[in-house]
């Protein structure tokens, strides 16, 4: 892992087309800005990790899915 120290308004360049800018630092929170191509997905790491964990815990085999007794649902907001 590369570790860099950066201050407010300083940036990090990744490859030719991605730039990460430190916008603000308050206490233990850093506000970051990203300049990147539209096809680069930028997500908070913990959200992607939560979705991956959820996918894995929901995965089952074909016969289990086919034989599930499906509950009736009510619409909700």
């Amino acid at each position: 892992m590369l570790v860099l120290s950066r201050g407010t308004a300083q940036s990090v360049q990744i490859s030719n087309d991605i730039e990460v800018v430190v916008l603000d630092i308050k206490g233990d929170t850093v506000k970051l800005g990203f300049r990147a191509p539209h096809d680069v997905r930028i997500l908070r790491g913990e959200i992607a990790a939560q979705v991956e964990t959820s996918n894995q815990s929901s995965a089952t085999d074909m016969s289990h899915v086919a034989n599930l007794t499906i509950p009736n649902l009510e619409a909700q907001s």
Binding site: H38, D39, R41, I42, L43, R44, I47, A48, Q50, V51, E52, T53, S54, N55, Q56, S57, S58, A59, T60, D61, M62, S63, H64, V65, A66, L68, T69, I70, P71, N72, L73, E74, A75, Q76, S77
Partner: protein
Amino acid sequence: MSTATDQQAVVIVRFVRPLLGFDDLEFEMSAHPGGYPWFSLHSRDADFPSFLTVDLGAVFDNLEIDIPDDVVADLGTASAADLLILGIVNSNDDFTVNLAGPLVVHPAKGVIAQVVQDRDLPTAAPLKGTS
């Protein structure tokens, strides 16, 4: 023409944005025997992984899903009417649904994407009526 919502139809879908945690790209999507709004998703390569999914539009009245422009382009349509928004259901314990990583499907084009929402949505939202 058959569609994914036909009871007997099986649609082959290919992930254009990955299903996080899995390398499988091609799945068979079909209506679940339990009827609408339930759908099954099976890997084409093996029995595992398979998923129970639910049409989120049929269950949640006010749910908004953000689909980035590049994903819309890869799905091959800009029309919401062409798309099915599915939530992966965890049926291994209680029936809960992942709202943070919905699956956006364009059945007519055979493409699907997991579109992680960059905001605080639950990965295990209870489904009303399932208790």
